[in-house]
Symmetry: C2
Subunit: 193 residues, 2 copies
C-alpha cells in the first residue's frame, strides 16, 4: 500500500518536488478497515481526514429516534471526514463504516495543520476539494427539496452507477432520504414500464 494514488490526486492541482512528495507521504497514516468495521465513530473526536485508497466507506448519523441516515459514500480516490468535529475538536455525530475491505490514509488533524504550514500551496488543493464538495452538496439539497423520491433515485443511478456493486439498497435509500420499502416500490414501478 503506497501513496501513489493520493499523490497523483494532489498533483493534478499542485506541482510538487520529489522532496515535497516524500514529506507529504510521511504525514499520511495508511491503514486497513475490514468490511463492517469502523474508521470513525460517533461520539469521538474525529481523528482526521480520510483518503480512500481502495474499497468503499460510508458515513452516517443516528437521529434521536434511532434511525440511521447515510450522508456520504466514499470509494477509491475520495476524501471523507467530519469537518465540524475536526475544526472545533468536538465529538463527531458521524460514524464511518467500511462496506468492503478498504485501504485508507488518515491525515491526522495536527498533521494537516503542519502540512499546510510547510506547503501552503496545498491550500489550493483543499480549496478546490471543498469547493467541489460544496457544489455537490448544493445539488443534493436542491433535489431533496424539489424532486420526488423517484427522481432522486434516477439522479443517483446516473451519477454513481459504480456504487451499486458495493452498497446494499437500504443504504442507498437512506442516502436518498427515503425508506428501503419505498425504494423497493419505486424499483418495481419502474420494472413494470
Amino acid at each position: 500500500m503506497n501513496t501513489a494514488s493520493i499523490i497523483n490526486s494532489i498533483s493534478k492541482h499542485v506541482s510538487l518536488t520529489s522532496k515535497e512528495v516524500l514529506y507529504l507521504s510521511s504525514l499520511f497514516l495508511p491503514s486497513k478497515v475490514h468490511q463492517g468495521e469502523f474508521a470513525e465513530k460517533a461520539g469521538e473526536i474525529s481523528k482526521g481526514m480520510l483518503y480512500v485508497n481502495s474499497g468503499c466507506l460510508m458515513s452516517y448519523f443516528s437521529d434521536k429516534q434511532g434511525n440511521d441516515h447515510v450522508i456520504q459514500f466514499a470509494t477509491a480516490g475520495w476524501w471523507t471526514g467530519d469537518l465540524h468535529s475536526l475544526t472545533r475538536q468536538i465529538p463527531s455525530i458521524y460514524t464511518t463504516k467500511a462496506l468492503a475491505e478498504s485501504e485508507v490514509f488518515l491525515l491526522p488533524s495536527n498533521n494537516m495543520d503542519k502540512l499546510l504550514e510547510m506547503l501552503p500551496t496545498l491550500e489550493h488543493y483543499f480549496r478546490i476539494l471543498f469547493q467541489n464538495s460544496l457544489v455537490t452538496h448544493q445539488h443534493r439539497l436542491m433535489l431533496a427539496f424539489s424532486a420526488t423520491a423517484e427522481e432522486r433515485y434516477n439522479d443517483f443511478e446516473e451519477k454513481y452507477p459504480a456504487l451499486e456493486q458495493y452498497v446494499p439498497l437500504k443504504y442507498i435509500a437512506s442516502y436518498l432520504g427515503m425508506t428501503p420499502e419505498f425504494l423497493s416500490k419505486i424499483r418495481r414501478r419502474r420494472m413494470e414500464r
Copy 2:
C-alpha cells in the same frame, strides 16, 4: 462605500500588507442592488463571487413546475455566488435578488484567478470559507432528512434570528423546504402553547 468590511473579514484569516490591501481592493467592483432587483440571473453565466457589504440578498432556483426554492440568504459579511456556474462557465440555475437596498462587491471570476495567483495566501481564506459553508450545508441536509418541518423552523430561528426582519415568511418557508401555508400552521400551533 469602501472595502473596509471585506478587508477586515479577510484579515481575520490572512495577514496582509498595506500594498496587498490596495491591490485587493482594486479587484472588487462595488455596486448597489435595489430592493427587488437582481444581482445575478438564472440562464446567464455567473459574473463572479459576491460579497454583501450591507443589505440582504437571496438566491433561489425554479424547478420544472415553476416553483421557486430559496437556497441561501446573505446579509452583511456573507459571500454568495454559483460556484458550479463559475468554475465550469456554464449558465447558472440560480437567481440572486435583493430583499433590501444592498451594497455588494463583485469579485469577477477572472479577477479571482488573478488574485489567487498574485496572493496565493488567499487560498487559505477561501479554503476556510468553503470549508465552513460545507459544514453548514451538511447540517441542512441532515435536518432535511431527519427533522420535521417544525424542528427545521425552530433551528432556523435559533440560528438566524436577525433574518426575520428582512425576509418575508414565504421565503423562509421555501428555504426550509415547506409551503408558506404549512409554515403558517406551525406558527399558529406554536402560539397556542
